[in-house]
């Protein structure tokens, strides 16, 4: 089992979610996050006081999938989230040791 973690542009969330649903992904966890990479931040101006805002709003997706789905899921996110401009985000794949479905007590792949 793997966890696919993706940081994407917020307005791409719907498109990514629809594409993942289409390839049979059952569940996604979404959080609003802030961060910076190569994309520059912006400045804000309040009565002459100027602030540089380095951290930009992004959306983080977390998806737990079986090994055989990983390539598909990564490719789907990559395609749906891409605009071709700086700031499109990143995708990480991490190993997962165990999954438990709390309601039934199922373990491992059955719990995904």
């Amino acid at each position: 089992m793997k966890k696919v973690e993706a940081i994407i542009k917020p307005f791409k969330l719907d498109e990514v979610k629809e594409s993942l649903s289409a390839i049979g992904v059952q569940g996604i966890t979404v959080s609003e996050v802030k961060g910076f990479g190569r994309q520059k931040g912006h400045t804000e101006l309040y009565r002459g006081a100027e602030y540089v805002v380095d951290f930009l709003p992004k959306v983080k997706l977390e998806i737990i999938v079986r090994e055989e789905q990983v390539a598909d899921v990564v490719e789907t996110i990559e395609k749906a989230a891409k605009t071709g401009r700086i700031g499109d985000g990143k995708i990480f794949v991490l190993p997962i040791d165990e999954v438990v479905r709390i309601r039934t007590g199922e373990r491992g792949g059955d719990a995904i």
Binding site: L13, L45, Y46, P57
Partner: protein, 480 residues
Amino acid sequence: MERRHRSFAAGYWCVRSSLALAAVLALASLAHAEEALKVDSGDTAWMLTSSALVLMMTAPGLALFYGGLVRSKNVLGLLMQSFVMVALISIQWVLWGYSLAFGPDHGHVMGGLEWLGLRGVGLEPSAYAATIPHQAFMIYQCMFAIITPALITGAFAERMKFSAFLLFSLLWATLVYDPLAHMVWGKGGLLGTVFGALDFAGGTVVHISSGTSALVCAVVLGKRLGYGSEPMPPHNMPFVLTGAALLWVGWFGFNAGSALAANALATSAFVATNTATAAASLSWMFAEWLGRGKPTILGAASGAVAGLVAITPASGFVAPMPALVIGAVAGVLCYGACNLKTVLGWYDDALDVVGVHGVGGSWGALATGLWASAQVNPGAFKAGGGSAVSEGLLISGQWGLFGCQVVAVLLTYVLAVVGSLLCLAITGVVVGGLRVSEDDEFAGLDLSQHSESAYVFAGGSYSAHSALGARPAEQRSAMD
């Protein structure tokens, strides 16, 4: 009241002398006096409405304007200070404030205690306004007494103890506002009656006094933790704009209401107020656009407030075109003052009370000395039975009034500085320090002073915005 008593006395004397003709004359003059002091329903309706409009300026107007400008951990603290001010000064005013400000004159400086607890302040018209109940005048003035110390809260925002704020405000209203209101507006007052300085709706009394005291407070309390190194941007600009818009609307009660009647003068003040405000909003916006590259919402809102402040003392004395100039200059001047504060970094006037109210109020008081015109308000000048020695410098070419305005501004500075220092000193001793502890300041006033949070439904620090993953409801049911 005064006039009617005189008529009664006259009638008494005439009957005693048994002269039929004199008795008839006395009765006639009695009838005349009764007529002159009859409550007018239109004027009373306008003054009660104006009172409510000025109340709206403090809460919610100023509360939202200031609440939006601070960081989210202090928004309740600021809202609370404006709201509680309404309650606090309402009580102070009916108990002793009104008597000190407008009661019978003592040495041209202060009203007496004769009207303590509103004793003798009834429902008949008074010497202050001939066509509305005395209590209507009293409650209208009450709203001015409320907003003035509330303006100062912007200077010591985000760091003053609530207990210190309460005591300071009560002392300041009593020791600074009430005497100043008496000197400018009270019968026999030093600046209004004796010097003949003009202040239609509170340039000296409200704005210069609060702006100057704001500077004193900012210096005495010291800077907020992290001022100059940490960013302290406003946390809710829609609050700020809503507050500014409420101030603009409410200010018609403030300025046009200061005519104390629903008449031509009120109309003139209304037009002058709106014109100056619009001009100032645009001039600040364009100044910032030219200087910093972007026209900001905060600039447009602050400019409007600066224009409202500047036209306040002049609104009942100037024609629409001078009002436009007063506003346009106020926008640029106050923009410059706020920027200068940031560049110099000498003091932390958190929400720019000095730059907007101190600078804008001073400009407005002086501008009154430039453009005050007898055509607009004949009753204000000596020739028309008023106290002002001449028309404005640019109207009549005479320096008389302008000189009086300069004196009034300077005297207000002195009174506000000395009075505020005294109030802060007493408060500091009684409450045991003016500022919250460093830990409390870091946690914010909301939690440390009130044990409340403004935005309890926002889970994380960044999740308050956006309908993340939201979609139209009918689409949801189709997918379920």
